[in-house]
């Protein structure tokens, strides 16, 4: 076969790889190796994930009782603001692209590195600079505008550190732009011989669509934040109605990025899930071209629906009508994906390993999140549930139930490749189950709360909402345990885990045809691709005796 680069399984003598080639702090801080930069990102975003999670924990503890006893209104406003800003800008947006994407995109297309390795390192440093600014902002008083920075509150009234938070997000936005730029050029220009567009893994198509949003959307939030900072610092009137400005213009500019940003979070996750479902069903993905193009369609439609966040803000009813219809249209490519994944499962030889459990979790939770999104796209229903916990539950089903499930599934799926070690499968399955249960217990009651009328962003609530809030807080505790477990056993496995073979799942894809962990330049010889993506029928006919189960 053309897979001459496949090597025998791990020998007792450790091969030279990207982890052991150089040692020392500077070999990491000055690296241009996309795999090392991915690990730098992994550590950084994990740090911010736990900060954001800490805020979430405090929010849920405060909401355990109807009265404000743990914190008062001002502190509560800061908690939900910083929870949102940290989770969105410092965890979810970089999560899959900057960690798994950084690690895998060059390998999946058969390249030695991303097109611009130094720009890749620069993007991490920008992330760190933005992160330090954000930490400084939080430690010296924080910000209370809500993650959306709505004007004129943020520019004329809030007494908190709006400027610093805005600048932090401005800086971190450029790290996102540079990642997207690098991916697009790599996917266009760095593919190995024979790796045609139709043979690319769907993970790559998903990242391509994500990158398009990153490079076209992020600059708009950058300039919006520049205007907010300038207006607040110099008392300009660009958005302040008292001075002749238009607050709705801010909302348009803000959501022009921040709605597509949701697709920056979910599209890579969809790519991960596609890889996992094909591998653990041992089948070619159903409708490859439809799944590939639905990613592009989501990116394109995603830019045309932003004003559905503004239905009650006073936009024209005709504009609202158009944005409502377009928001329904986004459901079509999303449904194409869900149906194609389901069709891939059909008559597949399904293996219930931990990554697959996360993928199943993703399927169900994303579907609920997506369908409740249609409720919100419907003008009449949105009037009722706008700014309630229904919205909170909806977008957490997408961002946590969807994006984070995919991220964790991907981390498990590729952990043997990244670390060269196997994680403990039993614990991983248990963690997947805990996350799923904890997640639903946290967020399903919030659908009910929102539908009954509990508004978001209040630190106290009428006593009749308490039972559901207690359930939600209990669920958040379970969810927290579910998130801690993988961190513990991943760290454990780095030292005590069994060495991973090059292809523990017997998966398709170029990244599995090199060593675990891979050498610095990914492949010992430049790969030449002569097969279609997801050729599981061919793979399984070669290895009839082997069982792709680990642990």
């Amino acid at each position: 076969m053309a897979t001459a680069i496949t090597q025998p399984d791990a020998q007792p003598i450790e091969r030279e790889n990207y982890l052991n080639k150089h040692y020392g702090v500077w070999s990491w801080l000055l690296t241009t190796d996309h795999k090392r930069i991915a690990l730098l990102y992994l550590m950084s975003i994990t740090f911010f994930f736990f900060i954001g999670g800490f805020f979430a924990l405090l929010i849920r503890l405060e909401l355990l009782t109807p009265t404000g006893d743990l914190v008062q209104a001002d502190t509560y406003n800061k908690l939900f603001t910083q929870h949102g800003q940290v989770m969105v800008f410092f965890f979810l947006i970089p999560s899959i692209p900057a960690v798994l994407g950084n690690f895998l995109v060059p390998m999946m297309v058969g390249a030695k590195d991303l097109a611009f390795p130094r720009i890749n390192l620069l993007s991490w440093y920008l992330y760190i600079i933005g992160g330090i600014m954000m930490l400084h902002c939080m430690l010296t008083g924080g910000v209370d505008t809500g993650w959306t920075f709505y004007v004129p509150f943020s520019t004329a009234f809030s007494n908190t550190k709006v400027i610093e938070a805005g600048l932090a997000i401005f800086v971190v936005g450029f790290s996102s732009i540079l990642t997207g730029l690098n991916f697009i050029v790599t996917i266009h220009r760095m593919r190995a011989p024979g790796m045609t567009w139709g043979r690319l893994p769907l993970f790559i198509w998903a990242h391509y669509a994500t990158s398009v949003i990153q490079i076209l959307g992020t600059p708009v939030i950058a300039i919006t934040l520049v205007l907010v900072v300038a207006e607040r610092a110099l008392h300009l009137g660009i958005f302040d109605p008292k001075l002749g400005g238009d607050p709705l213009l801010f909302q348009h500019l803000f959501w022009f990025y921040s709605h597509p940003a949701v697709y920056i979070m979910i599209l890579p996750s969809m790519g991960v899930v596609t890889e996992i479902i094909a591998c653990f069903s041992r089948k070619r993905i159903f409708g490859y071209h439809f799944v590939a193009l639905s990613s592009i369609a989501i990116a394109v439609f995603g830019f045309l629906v932003w004003a559905h966040h503004m239905f009650v803000a006073g936009i024209s009813i005709y504009a609202a009508l158009v944005f409502s219809i377009l928001s329904y249209a986004v459901a079509v490519p999303s449904a194409v994906k869900v149906f194609n994944w389901t069709a891939t499962l059909y008559k597949g030889s399904i293996h219930y390993d931990a990554p697959m459990l996360y993928a199943f979790g993703f399927l169900g939770l994303f579907t609920i999140g997506g369908l409740t999104g249609l409720f919100l796209a419907c003008l009449g229903v949105d009037m009722h549930v706008h700014d309630t916990y229904f919205v909170i539950a909806h977008f957490h089903y997408i961002m946590v139930g969807g994006a984070v499930m995919g991220y964790l599934g991907g981390m498990h799926f590729w952990w043997p490749k990244i670390s060269g070690k196997l994680y403990p499968e039993g614990w991983a399955r248990l963690a997947a189950l805990i996350v799923f249960i904890g997640f639903n217990l946290t967020f399903f009651p919030q659908f009910l709360l929102g539908y009954m009328g509990m508004p978001r962003r209040y630190f106290q609530y009428p006593a009749e909402f308490q039972v559901l809030n207690v359930l939600s807080t209990a669920g958040a505790t379970v969810l927290g345990v579910g998130y801690l477990l993988p961190m513990i056993y991943f760290l454990w496995s780095m030292r005590y885990g069994k060495p991973a073979p090059d292809n523990p799942w017997n998966a398709a894809g170029l990244e599995w045809k090199t060593a675990s962990p891979p050498p610095t330049f990914n492949f010992d010889e430049e790969p030449v691709v002569t097969w279609e993506a997801y050729n599981y029928d061919e793979l399984d006919s070669e290895h009839k005796q082997e069982v792709p189960v680990v642990g």
Partner: protein
């Protein structure tokens, strides 16, 4: 281009070819494609500003026209000419590199930077004038009794004029910042050209630096009529 593929196979491949590219052509394509995509992000960056500007220009047309009349179109026009000349010198520098005219390449790079500095100098004079006239948004801003062009007896609303000046300073300020970055890039290009890095086969940095410079020029080509020429024809 055929000689470059030969060079890759031989021992004498270009030291500028980075390890992760297979051929010089791939590297060149990736570099210029990357710059084009970056320019796409820049279009979106300035696009948000242009969008805000155009909305208020439509809402407060008379006030904007009055405010626009107070900025110096002659200096703005001179700056437009300066930038167009600088784009020509960039192209000539690339042509000189392609045809091995080292002295011409260095001269054109120096000339480009001089044009860039001239632009910033003229811009500085304009800013100083606005400062003297109290047209800088802030506590000392004043735009009282300024007549709206072709509407005798009607005066511009100072609040709305302040929005014009706010956008004027942000837009031209960000453009000037891009010019400063461009000058930094061209200083490096000049140094590299002086060191003899650029040959007819390899001058990618000149090309992508030039792309950036042209883009910054084009932004100005849009800024000039939008900001300086509102309702001037009457």
């Amino acid at each position: 281009m055929s000689d470059s593929t030969v060079a890759v196979q031989g021992e004498t491949h270009n030291p500028a070819l980075l390890h992760h590219f297979a051929t010089e052509e791939q590297q060149r394509n990736a570099s210029s494609f990357g710059m084009w995509i970056f320019l796409g992000t820049e279009v979106m960056f300035f696009g948000g500003l242009f969008c805000a500007y155009l909305i208020y220009r439509g809402w407060y047309f008379g006030d904007f026209a009055a405010a626009s009349k107070s900025i110096n179109a002659a200096l703005g026009g001179t700056n437009t000419a300066v930038l167009i000349c600088s784009s020509l010198t960039v192209v000539l520098a690339i042509w000189a590199a392609q045809t091995s005219r080292r002295a011409l390449m260095l001269a054109m790079l120096v000339l480009t930077m001089l044009f860039g500095l001239a632009f910033l100098g003229i811009k500085g004079i304009e800013y100083r004038d606005k400062f003297v006239e109290h047209h800088v948004p802030g506590p000392s801003f004043s735009f009282e009794h300024e007549e709206i062009p072709s509407h005798p007896g009607e005066y511009a609303n100072p609040r709305h004029a302040e929005i014009f000046f706010a956008l004027y300073f942000i837009m031209t300020g960000l453009h000037a910042l891009h010019m400063v970055v461009g000058l930094g890039i061209f200083s490096w290009l000049l140094w590299a050209a002086w060191k003899g890095r650029f040959t007819p086969e390899y001058h990618t940095p000149l090309e992508i630096g030039g792309l950036y410079w042209h883009f910054v020029d084009i932004v100005w080509i849009y800024l000039f009529p939008l900001l300086y020429l509102i309702d001037r024809h009457r």
